[in-house]
């Protein structure tokens, strides 16, 4: 392998490297870090972010952005909780449906009314949150414990948390869509040069439409897991999820300007940032930084800084990585 090729590979997989290093660090420094309990609970919790980040990744690949994912998840959780007494599947469908509704409005605002994605989804972030609060009457909504709805978030399948299975499946589908379907290639093309894509005769608007819809649906699904994992629909949850997702996507090497992106690296980005929180909690147990909780944000910021600079240095030397199959 030639040097530039290696560097460009590192550029796109730098995040994987960082992830490995962080895990290694945690394993060496803390007892029980790689214990079964910790691994499964980290995965169970972060599966919500993984789903939201997957949707975000698609949106960003088209050159857009979706700020509404957090409140959409909150809305999804409320709707799912309200519907959960009717049965697990109905709760699931209702939550995803609520997300799809928000996604649909985003899609219409962006592709039909031509409103900038940042503004359109910012507005929907407010609207979804307001709707969630209205539906929930400003309070958390209990889910039904009888209907089996809580299994979705709390149970295991083959010893592995169900939410993690759901996230993995979503990523496999996402990966196939990006790499092996024309819609997926269209997503990248639209982000790379929307005007050209249109002139090339691709249905740019339909692609963007689908992407916002998918992002909404995935956020709704994350909401279902939120409701089911914690036993309540939570109208005020989801604050800042959009930034977490954006950070994960970008740390994964996806360009915010669109046109280049990787589903797999996004997952690595989610795990990287998610595990960082976990590491910070373990570090607190050591008593070094627990004196002031505020150091946590400083450390998180610094960590992001290091990863992002590393990314930038690696990818500026190799050229943009395009996958060849």
């Amino acid at each position: 392998m030639t040097r530039p090729r290696l560097i460009s590979l590192l550029g796109s997989y730098g995040v994987v490297l960082a992830l490995l290093l962080l895990v290694l660090f945690g394993w060496a420094r803390y007892d029980y870090f790689l214990g079964f309990f910790n691994i499964t609970s980290v995965l169970r919790y972060n599966s919500m972010f993984a789903l939201v980040a997957l949707g975000m990744c698609f949106v960003i690949m088209t050159g857009g952005i979706d700020l509404s994912v957090g409140s959409t998840a909150a809305l999804g959780s409320v709707v799912a909780a309200l519907a959960s007494p009717q049965g697990a599947w109905i709760g699931l469908g209702a939550g995803v449906g609520a997300g799809l509704c928000v996604g649909l409005i985003n899609a219409i605002l962006v592709t039909r009314l031509k409103i900038m994605p940042f503004v359109a989804t910012l507005a929907m972030m407010l609207a979804a949150s307001g709707t969630a609060l209205l539906l929930a009457d400003n309070q958390s909504v209990s889910v039904s414990y009888e209907s089996g709805f809580t299994s979705i978030g709390q149970d295991n399948f083959l010893g592995f948390p169900i939410p993690a299975w759901i996230a993995i499946m979503a990523y496999v589908v996402g990966w196939i869509v990006v790499n092996f379907t024309s819609t997926g290639r269209g997503v990248l093309a639209v982000g790379g040069n929307e005007d050209a894509t249109r002139l090339m005769g691709l249905p740019a608007d339909r692609i963007k439409f689908l992407v916002y819809l998918a992002s909404g649906g995935l956020a709704g699904l994350a909401g279902v897991i939120l409701a089911s994992q914690f036993g309540a629909g939570q109208p005020i949850e989801g604050v800042g999820w959009e930034l977490f997702a954006i950070a994960a996507v970008v740390v994964g090497g996806t360009l915010l300007t669109g046109g280049v992106g990787s589903v797999g690296a996004t997952l690595a980005g989610v795990l990287l940032l998610g595990i960082l929180f976990n590491v910070l909690n373990f570090e607190n147990g050591k008593g070094w930084i627990s004196l002031s909780a505020y150091w946590q944000s400083v450390i998180r910021g610094l960590f992001l800084l290091v990863v992002v600079i590393l990314q930038a240095k690696l990818s500026s030397r190799g050229s943009v990585a395009v996958r060849d199959y």
Partner: protein, 331 residues
């Protein structure tokens, strides 16, 4: 008469879409004011004007910097955190927590200059990440969005600082010719920025970079330097806004000062008609945009719309305002 001059004389027919795009924000604002005259109790008073103007000040000041940043094709998520840093630092200095300064005037001056200066430096840091490492602005500024508030909290150990220092609080509570000082400050900054953007080389360079960065670079524009300056200005604006907020409240809470400001400021810029993709900017638009958002907030509160419903209404109005703007551009 030259050929081009003649062509200019051929008047274009009245185009309602163009008109909407040009005056969309103004129309929205006028409609809101009319609505309030009709439905909101006690609206037509000086005090209402006063309340709205003083409340909109900080958003406008931050949004000025944000407009410039957005004009270059960037974005600055760190403004709220920078407000917190400046808001945390200033009282530490004038209350003599760092080094005791006997002369109050001196202490206040030092506090203001250092606090705003530090915010500017952090802005410069944002610019450095973006210009030097070509990190995408949203992520580069996300770093300080997260860490910046942490820094402010670490500085104060998260504690609330309360104070009564009239010399300092003048910028939040004082009046100049009967007008609140912060309003005067806001107006001055708006005029300066609008003039700069329209009439100076630097302003033109900002727009060029947002419009086509490579072309700008090849035309000899020092793209990196312009970006550094623009993010620094954004930091300075945030720093000033931070001081205004704590001055009004007689207290500084690193945990909350500037919370959510980035989205308010960006919304003001967008509603004001500046394209978020860069290459275009209007400071007056931003002022009108911020006022629209402020007035929406006032209207909903004054008429007792429940908070949850207010969120939905606010969303609708933002979309509507931006949609009106967009109409002209598409034709």
């Amino acid at each position: 008469m030259t050929d081009t001059a003649r062509q200019q004389l051929i008047s274009r027919p009245f185009d309602p879409f163009d008109f909407m795009a040009r005056y969309g924000t103004l129309i929205a604002l006028a409609l809101l004011i009319l609505f309030n005259f009709a439905f909101t109790r006690n609206f037509a008073t000086m005090q209402t004007l006063n309340v709205n103007l003083t409340q909109v000040c900080t958003i406008v000041i931050v949004a000025i910097g944000m407009t410039l940043v957005i004009a270059t094709g960037g974005i600055d998520l760190s403004v709220g955190s920078l407000m917190a840093i400046s808001g945390a630092l200033a009282p530490m200095i004038f209350l003599g927590k760092i080094v005791p300064i006997d002369n109050v005037a001196l202490a206040v001056a030092a506090a203001m200059i250092i606090a705003v200066g530090v915010a500017g430096l952090f802005g410069l840091f944002n610019g450095w990440l973006i210009a030097r490492f070509r990190i995408q602005p949203i992520v580069a500024t996300l770093v300080l969005f997260i860490a910046g508030r942490g820094i402010a909290q670490v500085l104060t150990n998260g504690n609330l600082q309360t104070f009564r220092v009239p010399q300092f609080q003048w910028i939040g509570l004082g009046r100049l010719f009967g007008i609140p000082v912060q309003v005067v400050l806001m107006v001055l900054l708006v005029i300066a920025a609008a003039w700069m953007l329209k009439r100076t080389v630097f302003g033109r360079q900002i727009i060029a970079i947002g419009g086509n960065e490579r072309a700008a670079e090849l035309s000899g524009i020092a793209v990196s330097r312009v970006k550094l300056v623009v993010y620094t200005i954004s930091g300075l604006c945030a720093g000033i806004a931070g001081l205004v907020v704590i001055a009004i409240n007689s207290s500084s809470d690193a945990n909350l000062v500037g919370m959510g400001m980035e989205l308010d400021a960006i919304a003001a810029v967008a509603v004001g008609g500046t394209l978020l993709s860069g290459g275009k900017a209007t400071i007056i638009g931003t002022l009108l945009g911020a006022m629209t958002i402020q007035l929406v907030r006032y209207t909903l509160l004054a008429n007792g719309v429940p908070d949850a419903a207010a969120l939905v209404v606010k969303a609708g109005i933002i979309v509507l305002a931006v949609w009106i703007q967009q109409q002209g551009r598409r034709a």
